[in-house]
Symmetry: C2
């Protein structure tokens, strides 16, 4: 397996794949990052064409773990150097990646992925082989995906001890806007607001720390994921503003925040009791397998051990 | 020491005070709560007048650990049964408590307090003797406070391994709105918004869990603290809505959330590097001691070991 980009997620993936006994190697643009990985005993290089040549020779699965802005140039190199390799990614938006892959003519080779894991830190040193343990790892079931590549990506996620959530790219992006991108904007707004009140930092405790933790993430990363998903982020941001505005009105008019607090608590309780049934019955490549997996994922279903596959182009 | 109310905070306080070697006893309205505390080996009773009679006889410091709505009736009983006891509280708003204490005629006995600690759970069973370890514990330095009672409350907080932050009640409430009450409303809004997107719970990971953790708090507790502090909560809620609205506009107009993300990250970084100098020089009861402590607290200062006191009514 070949990882392009050895930051927090790519670096964790290289470690996790090695720990699972895979033959894994990686590329990192900065010499420092590649050196740090080599120093830690991993197979890493800063020469992209050399790494991609090796991926082509070994028919490796290529994993894109670069920031969105670096994607077009990576895809160009893959098309030139390793046009027959299967390709996946670990980037936090899926429709925008899908579009660039399509533009580049690599759609047939591609199955999107997104492990829902991370910390507020970045770079090789912040990585951890256990980053993905127990985390949901979305593997896209868009109309074009090939069963053989889907199986490869599923196997990689399971080797990293993640649970696989099958989902369409558009549904992934709508959900990610609500559970990842919106939380970042709320955390930023809370940080700014509290920073303007003299005594606030002196009293800050658990609810402030938790509520602003992700504001510690590098602004470039936060901007990249929010801005690449603006079409899905706007409606959930509007909804959050609407809910807060209604609470503001009832608080001012009759000193009550009952409606927001009660519906919010009920929603959080539903989340806490959300069940994760295991997906067992689907055969990858069988008729309607993509639609079946998308429906199961939407209902909370996860893949914990490899599904059987009918080894065809389905 | 006498604790009125043995829920999460009061129950933790009774445990922490005992662990510090204090003679501590408590009252709980529900027989079940008092029984649970007795079963765990603590001195607890559900007969309020008996507990307050004992507090009066032993000149105990009385700690109010009841929800806001129960406060007037508690204060009435204290005035009747133990009118000479020193009184503090651990309630999350300070001006509203101060007003009720004033109305009840107990102002001369009272120094407000608020340990900035808690979990999303409630009740005796959720308590923990180490709840306050390292937590900021606000002790109010309003114009009326007496040095002898202030010293008693400071000593209690230090016995519980908290760090004391001296602050005026009005400044406490403005800060608490920003770092405690606003985070609760943001968490509720995030829970509701995500709950409306089909795939959201299936993908929810760290940023959603952290951002909604406090939405797990009992709605009654959240409402009580937000609604009792509406005058201070409204302006910070307005500010947060304004920041989110501006980000919405730039995201829609030019696919950018740069301003919010960069100022939010900078504010969080300031918080992470916020220093907590120890307050060492003030003598409790000396001239301008209250103003001196309020200024030191505003600048981030904390009391880690007992300050000397001039034993007068200052």
């Amino acid at each position: 397996m070949c990882v392009l980009g050895l930051g927090l997620i790519g670096g964790s993936l290289l470690r996790a794949a090695e720990a699972a006994g895979r033959d894994a190697f990686g590329y990192n643009r900065s010499v420092e990052g590649a050196q740090a990985a080599r120093f830690d005993g991993f197979d890493a290089n800063e020469d992209l064409d050399q790494v991609l040549g090796r991926a082509a020779d070994s028919e490796a699965l290529i994993v894109l773990a670069v920031p969105m802005p670096a994607l077009p140039i990576m895809l160009d190199h893959i098309r030139t150097m390793a046009p027959r390799c299967a390709v996946t990614d670990v980037i936090s938006v899926k429709d925008a990646v899908l579009q660039q892959v399509t533009t580049c003519g690599l759609l047939d080779n591609y199955v999107g992925g997104h492990p829902m894991a991370g910390t507020a830190h970045s770079g090789w040193a912040a990585g951890d082989a256990r980053m993905f343990t127990g985390a949901p790892w979305v593997v896209s079931v868009d109309d074009h995906v090939r069963p053989d590549i889907w199986t490869d990506v599923m196997d990689l996620a399971l080797d990293c001890h993640a649970v696989v959530v099958p989902a369409r790219s558009d549904e992934h992006d709508a959900a990610a806007a609500a559970i990842s991108h919106l939380p970042h904007l709320l955390a930023e707004a809370l940080s700014v607001t509290a920073g303007e009140i003299p005594l606030a930092y002196a009293l800050a405790a658990g609810s402030f720390r938790d509520g602003t933790r992700v504001a510690g993430t590098s602004p470039d990363l936060v901007r990249a994921m929010c801005e690449a998903n603006s079409a899905d982020l706007l409606p959930v941001l509007d909804r959050a503003i609407e809910l807060l505005g209604s609470a503001r009105t009832t608080l001012a008019d009759r000193a009550s925040v009952a409606e927001l607090v009660e519906t919010g608590h009920a929603a959080r309780m539903r989340y806490e009791s959300f069940s994760r049934p295991e997906i067992l019955a689907t055969v990858i490549g069988a008729e309607n397998w993509r639609e079946e997996l998308a429906a199961a994922g939407r209902a909370g279903g996860v893949i914990r051990s490899a599904l059987p596959s009918r080894d065809s182009r389905g």
